[in-house]
Symmetry: C2
Subunit: 339 residues, 2 copies
């Protein structure tokens, strides 16, 4: 069994993103909150999923995708908490519908109704509880920069801002993927720059803070192969040592996991050779960042399974951990779904 822990619902029918656009326009015009998102039929869901995510999973032999709303569409830097509650519920419900239609192939992960300038509090916690208790979700995406590339709200180690959210994650026994969304900063292309910088930024915030002393059971996933962290593993090992910190293994790797969304063979080889295999979870973010076929290989850039299969840095026990076992460890709520 192969579990892909990083998929997004990027193939919703057009009325979904049109609703968000209208909601934001109305909010910008008069500050009011559009609350009635348009219906989406089961057929529309099937038409988005079957020829795309599901077909690709079957082609590649992926059994289950841990599936969340489109990341760049989370859009926390726009609107306010009230608009974003409506938007998050709508997007999470659509993910839940996918999981209901294909219960053997998709498990849900929720987006949070974060908003720029607003610490995650009751509205966020209510949606978390709804997602876990009512929708059976197994985790959440947490946006470390709901300001959309301005990076003007507090960092992940800020106790007042973030610790109440971490308490909820621990209480609900769910991990969080650290995943930024769109960028309103012209310096940062969302998917090319902001995503990768967000991962690197979170890694260093974890390394240089006491979050895991205070929450020893919390688990975070860094997507996109951990941003720049594995490529600069020696830099971070050396800086930890210079700062008098414990090793990366002790300080970070009990709580932080890396996905395999790295779209070429040398990158996967590096990831698998520097990060312990217990800390690597298979993922492709298929129908995500990169859609094309690599002319050098004749395969999709995002067919990450091929790179892991071909990697001299992996053996079969490692592959089993990366494909399945680690995911079941990090996402305890996946275990009943996977039998």
């Amino acid at each position: 069994m192969i579990i892909d822990i990083h998929g997004h619902y990027t193939t919703t029918p057009p009325q979904v993103s049109e609703f968000r656009q209208r909601q934001i326009e109305q909010f910008q015009r008069d500050g009011s909150v559009l609350r009635e998102p348009p219906p989406v039929s089961d057929d529309e869901i099937r038409a988005g999923i079957e020829p795309n995510q599901l077909a690709r999973m079957k082609e590649r032999g992926v059994d289950l995708t841990v599936f969340s709303p489109k990341a760049v569409g989370m859009d926390h830097h726009q609107g306010n908490e009230a608009t974003n509650v409506v938007w998050a519920r709508y997007c999470n419900d659509l993910v839940h519908r996918v999981c209901q239609l294909y219960p053997r192939h998709f498990a849900g992960v929720g987006m949070l109704p974060q908003a720029a300038g607003v610490p995650p509090r009751q509205a966020v916690f209510d949606e978390m509880r709804r997602c876990v208790d009512e929708l059976g979700f197994v985790g959440f995406n947490v946006n470390p920069d709901p300001t959309g590339g301005r990076w003007s709200d507090p960092p992940l180690w800020d106790k007042d801002w973030w610790y109440p959210l971490y308490e909820q994650l621990v209480a609900l026994q769910v991990p969080a993927m650290i995943h930024v969304s769109g960028s309103c900063n012209p310096h940062f292309n969302a998917v090319a720059t902001h995503y990768i910088n967000g991962d690197t930024t979170a890694f260093v915030q974890f390394l240089t803070s006491d979050i895991f002393r205070d929450f020893p059971d919390i688990k975070f996933i860094l997507p996109h192969g951990g941003g720049a962290a594995p490529y600069h593993w020696g830099r971070y090992r050396g800086m930890a040592q210079d700062m008098g910190l414990p090793t990366l293994e002790e300080k970070v790797l009990k709580n932080v996991f890396f996905d395999t969304c790295v779209y070429h063979q040398p990158g996967i080889d590096l990831l698998l050779s520097v990060v312990p295999s217990q800390n690597v979870l298979f993922a492709s973010e298929t129908f995500g960042a990169v859609n094309g076929i690599d002319p050098r290989t004749g395969h999709h850039f995002d067919h990450t399974l091929r790179y892991i299969e071909a990697s001299p840095a992996a053996d079969e026990p490692m592959r089993q951990r990366v494909y399945r076992e680690n995911a079941l460890g990090v996402y305890p709520r996946l275990r009943p779904i996977c039998g």
Copy 2:
């Protein structure tokens, strides 16, 4: 002959950084500009350089270091253009003194008197001309984010803001290393996060803009092994293809070069296997980011020459390009210095 293209004067005597601190305090107090930096004796310069940078170079067999003021000390987000002109002249003069004392071992690269909110104009150009014409400098460090982690001034592709600076670089026949400085944003540890994110950000700005159509002869160096770019080379190749752009080779690699400040063997192996060797320049940033010895190897993390020597991705012609030939191509003003 081995040329290290990325060294900083991190071992100045204490009155140097104390001056900057006083200058900023006075500026914050009353907006006035402290203009009289304290003297530094030749003996103080020797005491900083000989047991540190120069000793390390001799141990490792590095002949020449391309040497610039301490990067985290450039400090463009503090003060204003007038304070920063004084500070840049002082720091550049100190680098020049090092080059005069050890003319066979150091070639100068200048910092610019950039300031947050101020486009680089005459004050910057005057210092550039002084550095090249009077001090014999061979290049400059350009800070893509003089706001110190706020990223609130325009991106590198903004024609009004940046193109006049690019015209100067081309006219003076000098390359620029893209190098951020300190961070006043609590999200970003300067050396661990902001440096690496700055490199990745610049790479994508180069990829997604027309800078090299407009300046076909300009040359930029991305330090720290190009941030995250080589690790995500497949992502960037794929995104370029999805965007309908030319290949990375055509779009970026005629003008952009990567240094080897990557502090472990797998990172260097990856860099040398994905980036064409014509685009890689040897560097260590010694007495820079990471000072310690790797307990796994018994050698300094930043002894990057060892990794290149040991890399299965390199052969001797490649090493000669990386150690010397590429540097002479990118820095034409190094050629007479190197005989």
